[in-house]
Amino acid sequence: MEGQKKKIGFLITGGPYTFEHLDTAYHLSKAALKKGYGVSIFLYLDAVVALNKNIKSPGERHIPSMFKELADEGARIVACGDCAHFRGLTRDLLVEGTRLTGIATLAEIIEECNRFITLGMGE
């Protein structure tokens, strides 16, 4: 039953293409979903840029699509609204299935997840 599904939560801070943290979170989330766990991801600081659907990445992986794919498979993908404002990411640019929220949602995710992982202090 959905309510009893075990969940893993993530807080990611490193930006797309610049750092590997979003990639690690994506691959771990795919594995977790495959095993039947729930996944919730909170994007903070530069990581919010990953949800910009205008990203063009010729010849490389397309990170916004990877996160849309996770959302399509049932993961909850949210990004810090304040961080988005500071980086010029407006709501209309968000990739489908994702949304902007506040730290209260991070608190909610931490509360509801059985395990919680931070990725991304930079290098």
Binding site: T24, A31, N114, I117, T118, L119, M121, E123
Partner: protein, 86 residues
Amino acid sequence: MRALFLFSRTPNQENIRFLKKLIDSSDCVVFIQNGVYIAKHNIELECQNYVLEPDAEARGIKINSNSVDYIRLVDLIMEFDKVVTI
């Protein structure tokens, strides 16, 4: 309470010293991202420890044993009580 430590930075004397201070024998360490270069150093840890295989393979770091893939890492995440990234 047993913790799983995710070690993601290039290992150096200072951050390995920090890791050693935080772990005890019931914990587990998984070296991910640039942490996988640990395999080039002769470090003895008092708890079980693994290297994330796709991150090691990407960097050309050969692992003889103790490697895990994403699926096995998810198992470990659930097996231990909490995850600490350092």
